[in-house]
């Protein structure tokens, strides 16, 4: 009865994650029911709010862009066996890099010249903010989880200080920089479509979505097709084997963290150079943490991450719609779902494995008995 079978690959790669995601959403349904609304009605409103009309799709994809960046950031660190909780701070500091470059050069060059410079600056600043925890873990023995948590808070205090005292546009109350000049901000999707003669509603969606898709492809190349990627996966799987094959794990920990931070820093391309067109307080707005849910759900693979980002983008946009339809549901429900996804796809990832192995074992024995 309790004989266990080895799970086939498809069960491991597809079935278990699917079961875990389903469990997370069932639990979310229970929460909705507790609140006193019908979960199925909520799903319907959510889907309509996320995909029902062109403005909704625009916002959904705009959120998706952020989550792809932070999801990739978390995934690269995961491959090296590191848990980067600091995506939030790295993205925030990345915004400082992007913002400074844009504010310095926006009157000198058009957006298409500025974009590569801004990407470089965002990645560099994000990488620097992750480099320190990576270095401290590799060479000073402090744990990257704790250090990145601390760095989130330090980043937040630093940015408040800079925005309130240094970068603020003179003569205004709100702690924000001046707007980036018009020609230097990223083209919005509705402007692009208007150029093609198609009219769509104005949304914050801009061409950084393409940057995100390109980044996903490059991460795939990095992790599965390059020497660095191999070394990163190797220290994640078996550090002592990595040492024997001539990999310096300390160096790779630092490299993996820096790459991870640089990807998180790209959030600022979407927010600072695209949607907000200036540096504002808290523009990251939790994307760094959503990236953790996205990476866990997408199994650290770029394709999975894009799909999971789309799901979370839809949840964030559709969640805003929920508040209009139901008096007692707000977007905070999406935060609950996010927590449940991290719980079921992350912490409880192995829960269903045992029962499933037993189930497969049962089938195996039956088919053997039949023969």
């Amino acid at each position: 009865m309790s004989r266990r079978a080895k799970l086939p690959i498809w069960a491991d790669v597809a079935l278990i994650p699917l079961i875990n995601v389903t469990l997370a959403f069932l639990a979310a349904g229970v929460v909705v029911a507790m609140i006193g609304e019908n979960p199925l009605d909520a799903v319907e409103v959510l889907v309509r709010g996320a995909f029902g009309y062109d403005e909704a799709v625009g916002y959904t994809l705009y959120y998706t862009t952020n989550f792809i960046f932070t999801g990739l950031a978390v995934a690269v660190a995961f491959h090296a066996g590191l848990f980067n909780i600091g995506g939030e701070g790295q993205a925030y500091i990345g915004g400082l890099g992007v913002g400074l470059v844009c504010l310095a050069l926006d009157h000198l060059m058009p957006w298409w010249l500025l974009l590569p410079v801004a990407i470089g600056a965002g990645m560099l600043f994000g990488a620097a903010w992750a480099f320190i925890p990576g270095y401290l873990q590799a060479y000073r023995g402090s744990h990257v989880v704790i250090t990145t948590i601390m760095f989130n808070f330090i980043a937040s205090a630093l940015m408040v200080y800079l925005l309130v005292n240094v970068l603020i546009k003179p003569g205004q109350m709100a702690p924000e920089t001046r707007d980036i000049a018009d020609g230097a901000t990223l083209p919005m999707m509705h402007e692009l479509f208007a150029g093609l003669g198609i009219k769509i509603t104005q949304t914050p969606l801009n061409i950084s979505l393409f940057v995100a898709l390109l980044a996903s492809f490059l991460v795939w190349v990095l992790i599965w097709r390059t020497r660095w990627g191999y070394a990163i996966r190797m220290i994640g799987h078996n550090e002592s084997a990595a040492v024997y094959s001539g990999i310096n794990p300390k160096r790779m920990v630092v490299v993996a963290m820096a790459i991870s931070g640089s990807l998180a820093g790209l959030v600022a391309i979407n927010e600072v150079m695209g949607a907000q067109q200036r540096i504002v307080l808290d523009f990251v707005a939790g994307s760094g943490f959503t990236g953790i849910a996205v990476a866990l759900m997408g199994r650290n693979h770029p394709v999975g991450i894009i799909l999971a980002s789309l799901l979370f983008g839809a949840l964030f946009q559709g969640g805003a719609e929920l508040a209009f339809e139901f008096s007692s549901i707000t977007r905070d429900l999406v935060v609950v779902i996010q927590g449940l996804v991290i719980l079921f796809c992350g912490a409880l990832a192995y829960m269903m494995r045992g029962p499933l192995e037993r189930l497969f074992g049962l089938f195996e024995r039956q088919s053997q008995g039949g023969n």
Partner: protein, 324 residues
């Protein structure tokens, strides 16, 4: 004399601000000394705060509020245990899930139940833990120095403040002077040895996370029905993480951790008082600098630049009996 009054008032608020930190740090101590990483202090405290305020608002009883806070916080701790001990899940991921769940659920349920944008109804003063006066504090009040120390600084806090400071020696006694404590420390260093001695690793660790839940629940209740008068969205505001930093700063020991909490509490008390004040030599100190200081200090400590903080050896590693 003015400086003396200022100092006493700063120390007075230090005690208030350090209370939730101390309770959470002791909570983290139980969990982490048993080998279970607990970054979910924040979430358990927040859930406790919501449970306490909601229950007290409905029933009018602080005691029911306090009990519910502990129960809810323990339930979340058990969830953490279920994921990390029973199913050998990643302890950091599980703790993060608890933090995010608490942040979402407390507001989502609050809006559904009370329709106040995530706040619970304001509590009247008899629905909160009120300041307790020490005996003779009004008599002693006029005496120089001793009067202010006794009547203003030590007397006049609510029950939970005193409970927090009582929790430190109790934790010390439990961890260092009892059989449970010896086993607790052993299971965090070398679970195989504990298992070989015929003691259940899982049950020991479950008891440790239950203790953590209980203490976080107290911290949450303190925030919403003692210090505050009701629940406000995200009212824990990173205190759980500061407590974690203090625990590390105190090298996972009760008394040093308490002093770290007092230090961080003092920094917070100062940061509001020093706003816009010109100090000799250094000039004005920015609030943000004071806010970031606990985190910066912890990073520097962890990096081994001031002393060395060595975590329990088996921390973060799920215990696998088969492969022992």
């Amino acid at each position: 004399m003015d400086i003396w009054v200022q100092l006493i008032s700063a120390l007075d608020s230090t005690l208030r601000l350090a209370t939730p930190l101390i309770l959470c740090a002791m909570a983290g101590l139980f969990s982490e000394r048993s080998g279970i990483v607990d970054i979910g202090l924040e979430g358990k405290m927040l859930a406790g705060a919501f449970a306490a305020a909601a229950t007290t608002a409905v029933t009018g009883s602080v005691w029911l509020g306090l009990i519910t806070a502990m129960a809810v916080s323990i339930a979340m701790a058990l969830l953490h245990g279920f994921a990390c001990i029973t199913h050998k899940g990643d302890q950091v991921v599980s703790g993060l899930a608890i933090n995010i769940l608490a942040a979402g659920l407390s507001v989502a349920l609050g809006i559904a139940w009370f329709h106040r944008g995530g706040q619970t109804p304001a509590l009247a003063s008899e629905e909160r833990f009120r300041p307790l006066s020490f005996p003779f504090s009004d008599v002693v009040a006029d005496w120089p120095i001793i009067g202010t120390l006794y009547s203003d600084l030590l007397s006049g806090h609510n029950l939970l403040v005193y409970l927090a400071f009582l929790a430190v020696p109790l934790t010390y006694a439990m961890v260092y002077k009892t059989r449970f404590g010896l086993r607790l420390r052993a299971v965090g260093e070398n679970p195989q040895a504990v298992d070989t001695a015929g003691i259940s690793v899982a049950w020991l660790r479950y008891r440790a996370v239950i203790m953590a839940g209980l203490l976080c629940g107290l911290a949450g209740a303190y925030l919403s029905i003692a210090l505050g008068a009701g629940f406000v969205r995200d009212m824990s505001a990173g205190k759980g993480y500061i407590a974690l930093a203090a625990l590390i700063f105190g090298k996972w020991r009760p008394v040093p951790a308490m002093f770290a909490c007092l230090l961080f509490g003092f920094l917070e008390a100062l940061s509001t008082r020093l706003q816009g004040v010109d100090l000799p030599i250094v000039g004005q100190i920015e609030v943000q600098f004071m806010q970031a200081l606990p985190y910066v200090l912890t990073v520097i400590l962890l990096a081994g630049f001031i002393g060395r903080a060595v975590a329990p050896k088996a921390i973060g590693v799920p215990y696998n009996k088969d492969r022992a």
